[in-house]
Each structure stands twice: as C-alpha cells, then as structure tokens.
Subunit: 155 residues, 2 copies
C-alpha cells in the first residue's frame, strides 16, 4: 500500500529523486510551514470576503489566491516521506497514520484541494468579490475534508 | 522611522487594513513559515543544479522557482508588524531590531530579493539549467544579503 500511495503522491508532485534525501524533521517542518502560509493567506481572504467586505482589495485578493495556488502546486505531497508519520518539525506532526495507507483517499482530497486552489487564483483575477467568496468557501471545504480525514485533534 | 519603514513595506506589500489585525505571534510564525518554504524550494534547486546536475528536471525546477516567486510576491513584508521585533512564532524570532528602523536598508534587500526571485521563475520556464544555476546563485545572494544585515546568529 505504501508504494501505491507513493505513486499517487508522485503523480501529484513529480517528486523525483531529489526528495529521497529529505530528512523526516525537515519534511514535517516544511509541510507545517506550507500549511501555515496557506492559513495566513486564507485568513487574508476571510478578512476581506467574510469579516469585513468593505476592505476587499482585488490586488490583495490576487496575491493571497496566487500564494495559495502556488503552495497547492508546490509538491507538498512529496513531503510525506516514509517515516514522517511520526516526528517533530516545528512541532509534533498531527498527521494520522491513515494518510500513509489510504492512497485513494489521499489522492481524492489532494486533487480536490489542488483543483479548487487553482480555481481560486483564476476567480481572484476577475476581481469579482462575490464569486471569489463562493470559491473561497469551496477551498475551505477541501481543507476541512483533508483535516477531518487525515489530521488528528483538529482545532 | 517606524512610519517610514511601514510605508516602505506597504509599498512592497500593499498590506492594507486587514493586516492591522495580525497578532504578533501569528506574524512571526507566518514569516518563519514563508522562509522555511523558500528554503525547501531553494534546497530542491540546489539539489538539481549544484549537487546532482544529472537529476535536473525542468518541471520540478519550474515548480520550485514558481513557489519561491509566489512567496516573494506574497506580501511577507507586511508580517513585520509593530511589536514583532521580539517574540515567538514557531520559535523565537531572530530578526534584528534594525529591520524596524532601517527603512531604506529593508527596502533595498526586499526589492533585490523580489526582483531576483521573479527572474528565477522566468529563467526556470526556459528550461536552461545553466542559466538557472546562475540565477539561483543571484537569488541566494539576496537571501544572504538580508540575513547578514537583519538576522541574528545566522547559521
């Protein structure tokens, strides 16, 4: 099952040989960092789309959406290296062991997130705040979909 | 001086009103995360351009370069909020107090990094590994330029 998962992740990330040398601690730290950067930018969008629509700014929305899409396309799946089901990056990983065995489930949530994140960037570029709010919600659902399934102790 | 620095940062980041609500701890965590994601992707490029040129892969190079450029364009300057000269994100910040007083110096290193990081993405898109290696070096110099000036205890 591990090799099947790896193939799924490779299909998403084109991880290649360089990733074989990634240390577990670094892998966990980098994925925690990637998610934190996404949270920062989702927070920016939430601020201008949900909490305070008067603060909507197209340029800022585009920057936030592009950052999220770039992270979605960055090959973070390749950071789930063997042995990184436990361990500490910045802090202890909260990944569930299922992520390393449920290849099909991982592929499903990863593809969903990738699709909606890239769509987010496209919608942001139009400057249509109402459409972006809808798409922001869709991205949030894909975040939640993965957290519910593959993250422990969701806050 | 602080307001001057803030203006410089705003010019780079178009931070806007939403950022006024960023907590110091979050701001530090998010900027540490952004730099970690950049380090991950600089490491990928180093692997395929310097350490093991036989592993060069254009698609991977483009992904890494685009991720670095996206972070460079993400408005991280806006995360140097007042009060974040000290404090803990994932770990204690290593920022030097000078970053909050030397507006011109900050602008210089920030613009240099932004320019070279965006050029990195352009060069990666050409698939020219030799040219990308040169540009990778230029980006690295701008990273170092900021670290030397504004980061404590550089490792």
């Amino acid at each position: 099952m591990k090799s099947k998962l790896l193939l799924s992740l490779l299909a998403l990330t084109l991880a290649g040989s360089a990733l074989a040398q990634v240390k577990v601690e670094d892998a966990i730290k980098w994925r925690q960092s990637g998610y934190a950067v996404m949270a920062w930018n989702m927070g920016k969008l939430k601020g201008m789309l949900v909490e305070n629509p008067a603060s909507f700014n197209k340029d800022q929305a585009v920057i936030a959406a592009n950052t999220i899409a770039a992270l979605a396309n960055s090959g973070m799946g390749g950071l789930y290296v063997p042995g990184s089901d436990k361990g500490k990056g910045w802090v202890d990983t909260r990944v569930k062991p299922e992520l390393f065995t449920d290849g099909e489930g991982v592929k499903k949530v990863a593809l969903a997130f990738n699709k909606e994140a890239n769509e987010l960037a496209k919608v942001a570029a139009t400057g249509d705040a109402a459409a972006l709010k809808v798409q922001f919600g869709k991205v949030g659902e894909t975040c939640k979909g993965c957290h519910d399934k593959f993250r422990k102790d969701d806050k």
